[in-house]
């Protein structure tokens, strides 16, 4: 079992006829994802990647009972696209765009909470249950990274995810579900929210968190462990350990402000609740082995 998606998830693609939309829809389909419909205003009746295209999400959902939405629209239209899918009752939405205005990121997050929905992104390459389904722009050709297996992975990064996941795979493991929550300062979904599903998933043995300085997502993970909501082994790698405070290096959210959010603090907190924190990507594999060995 993967969490969130598998071959049976009925995926609708918003912005399916765009260049990026049609390219990645084809890849998603090739990876086993069940693409049931697409939406592009004004193009109802067309076909794209074999999927029927509708004017609106309502029409598509009515005809195809979609239960997940993949959003390929430019950053300034993402809020509306997410609201449209929420309005039609869709409760899993993935949005990749880098550049969503901050106040709209916040509205997306607030709407996700109010609707009890999962909105993954933006500024991510999405979500994959290797061998089953993919929602996003994760290419299937890198098998040494996205090999099926029993480790859940959550990440705020792109390239670093390849770096760390390759170490996980090199250590003999594979991936059950990988969730890129994205590098925006206000992501639609946060690490800790997925821990209960990983906890319940009998095909996930442990979870790897690829975090970074700034924000409080890693702290929330520590809290979930402390409160007993997550009991499986958890290994984390955090980038930005030596980053100078107050300097924004990379992701807008990756900055130490108000004396908070340093990798040191996050490490101390995670280790205090029994999680393992790798200092280097390479250590993730050995820490995973140690954690799972200890458990078994």
């Amino acid at each position: 079992m993967s969490i969130l998606i598998d071959q049976n998830t009925r995926v609708l693609v918003q912005g399916i006829t765009g260049k990026e939309g049609s390219f990645w829809t084809q890849h998603m389909a090739d990876m086993g994802t069940n693409i049931v419909a697409g939406v592009t205003p004004g193009k109802e009746g067309q076909l794209c990647c074999g999927a029927p295209v509708y004017h609106s999400v309502r029409n598509a959902v009515k005809a195809h009972k979609a239960d997940a939405a993949m959003v390929f629209v430019p950053p300034k239209f993402v809020l509306d696209a997410v609201m449209e899918s929420l309005d039609s009752g869709i409760r899993l939405i993935v949005t990749l765009a880098d550049g969503i205005p901050l106040h709209e990121q916040a509205k997306i997050r607030a709407a996700a909470l109010a609707s009890h929905a999962v909105v993954i992104g933006g500024n991510t390459s999405g979500l994959i249950a290797p061998g089953k389904a993919m929602m996003g722009s994760i290419p299937y050709w890198i098998e040494r990274v996205y090999k099926p297996g029993r480790i859940g992975i959550m990440t705020r990064s792109g390239s670093l995810t390849n770096e760390v996941t390759a170490m996980v795979v090199a250590a003999g493991f594979g991936v059950s579900t990988l969730i890129g929550v994205g590098g925006d300062p206000v992501p639609g979904a946060r690490f800790a929210e997925f821990l209960p599903a990983f906890e319940a998933d009998d095909e996930t043995d442990a979870v790897v968190i690829i975090g970074e300085l700034g924000g409080t997502m890693e702290e929330e993970v520590a809290e979930a462990i402390a409160s007993g909501r997550f009991t499986k082994p958890l290994v984390s790698f955090l980038s930005g350990r030596t980053a100078p405070p107050g300097t924004r290096m990379g992701h807008a959210g990756a900055i130490i402000t108000g004396g908070k959010g340093s990798v040191e603090d996050k490490t101390r907190l995670l280790e205090s609740v029994g999680a393992r924190v790798a200092r280097r990507p390479r250590e993730v594999g050995s820490l995973l082995k140690a954690a799972l060995g200890e458990r078994n």
Binding site: K107, A110, L113, P139, A166, G246, M249, R282
Partner: protein, 375 residues
């Protein structure tokens, strides 16, 4: 985009937030006229974006016109790339508060923060006595509601007239926060004057970069950057930060770049510049390498692990850049991901060998920079 104090105060004034009388001068010669307008004593405030201006001596009081003129002359002569000084009336202060608005990620709400002690470093208050910071979170659809303002200012310890004035100001500050697509808007200190009014003593405002298309009036010119090269990089859309080390990074993606930065430090190396060569910039090898070379590094360290950002395309760009720019320092290149199998062949003309392990690449770069190893 961080605005200068004088710009933040223009936004405040438009929103109905009282600000001191002031004149912006761009040369010492304008000081006398400015002092004539704002009166004495007055403050001279260097318009720079770095924090801690007070400690750095970049904000000073002048009691006489002569004092003001000397101060201004010293500032313009001595502060690197200073473009303007704000000459501002010195307000008679009864007490100072702290007020700020930012976004709260977990809730997706705005958060209004206040502290009854202003002028302090709020980070230190937050760390040492967090209970002194008063918070109110705001649903963006509903906006800042009157009852929230009333409770917030009461918790700040304000009463009667001060409560009403600061309350009204909070409403204006929130409207400015929203209309400016602000990441952060801060008044520190907020003066309560002896005449009983609330006046913004300082002003910080940073507009969300993703929202700049709605704020086209603000052009991010040279004064907004710490160096010429950072300005050049920004024009190219390349995330780039200068440090004082000797290893120039060209790394794909923020997370991996930060990781390499950490690993370089672990190995005892020092970074000359952070540079993101991933995402939308993976075809800009030439520009990226030129930005690195400007720092005269001892080595350029390239680390990528791309999927959409293809390794072979990056290798082609690097090869071309080396051929054109003829860098006089060695290059260490660790390229993985889509097309990696073609990289060695592409690198052949420039004699570069692809590494495939990040830590190995970092160790090699540090060894070169320290002189322990030759490329």
């Amino acid at each position: 985009m961080k605005l200068f104090e004088y710009q933040a105060k223009e936004v405040f004034a438009d929103a109905g937030i009282p600000v001191p009388k002031s004149v912006l001068i761009t040369g010492a010669g304008e000081t006398a006229a400015a002092v004539g307008f704002v009166g004495l004593p007055c403050m001279l405030k260097c318009q720079v974006l770095s924090g801690g201006r007070g400690k750095a001596g970049l904000v000073k009081l002048a009691k006489t016109q002569a004092e003001a003129e000397v101060l201004a002359a010293n500032y313009f002569a001595g502060v690197p790339s200073l473009h303007a000084v704000l000459v501002e009336e010195a307000v008679a202060i009864e007490r100072e508060l702290y007020l700020a608005l930012t976004m709260d990620a977990p809730s997706g709400r705005a958060v209004l923060m206040g502290c009854a002690e202003g002028g302090v470093e709020i980070e230190q208050v937050a760390a040492k006595t967090p209970e002194k910071i008063v918070r109110e979170t705001i649903d963006l659809d509903r906006g800042l509601q009157p009852f929230q303002i009333s409770d917030f200012v009461y918790r700040l310890g304000l009463r009667d007239d001060a409560l009403k004035q600061v309350g009204k100001l909070c409403g204006a500050l929130y409207r400015a926060f929203r209309s400016m697509d602000a990441e952060l808007i801060e008044i520190n200190p907020l003066f309560l004057t002896k005449s009983g009014t609330a006046v913004a003593g300082d002003g910080k405002l940073s507009i969300d970069d993703n929202s700049m298309f709605r704020h086209a009036a603000y052009e991010k010119g040279r004064p907004y950057y710490a160096s010429d090269m950072e300005f050049e990089a920004a024009k190219e859309g390349i995330p780039y930060i200068e440090f004082d080390g000797d290893i120039s990074l060209m790394c794909a993606g923020a997370g991996l770049a930060n990781t390499v930065y950490d690993l370089v430090n672990y190995e005892g190396g020092k970074v000359a510049n952070y540079l993101e060569f991933g995402g939308p910039n993976y075809m800009k090898a030439g520009t990226a390498m030129r930005l690195c070379l400007a720092n005269k590094p001892k080595v350029i360290l390239i680390v990528t692990f791309g999927t959409i950002a293809r390794a072979d395309v990056m290798a082609e760009g690097i090869t071309k850049a080396v051929q054109e720019l003829k860098p006089d320092c060695p290059i260490v290149a660790c390229l993985r991901g889509t097309g990696e199998e073609r990289v060695d062949e592409i690198f052949a003309p420039i004699g570069l060998k692809r590494l495939s392990d990040t830590e190995e690449a970092v160790r090699k770069a540090v060894a070169i920079a320290s002189g322990r190893e030759r490329a």
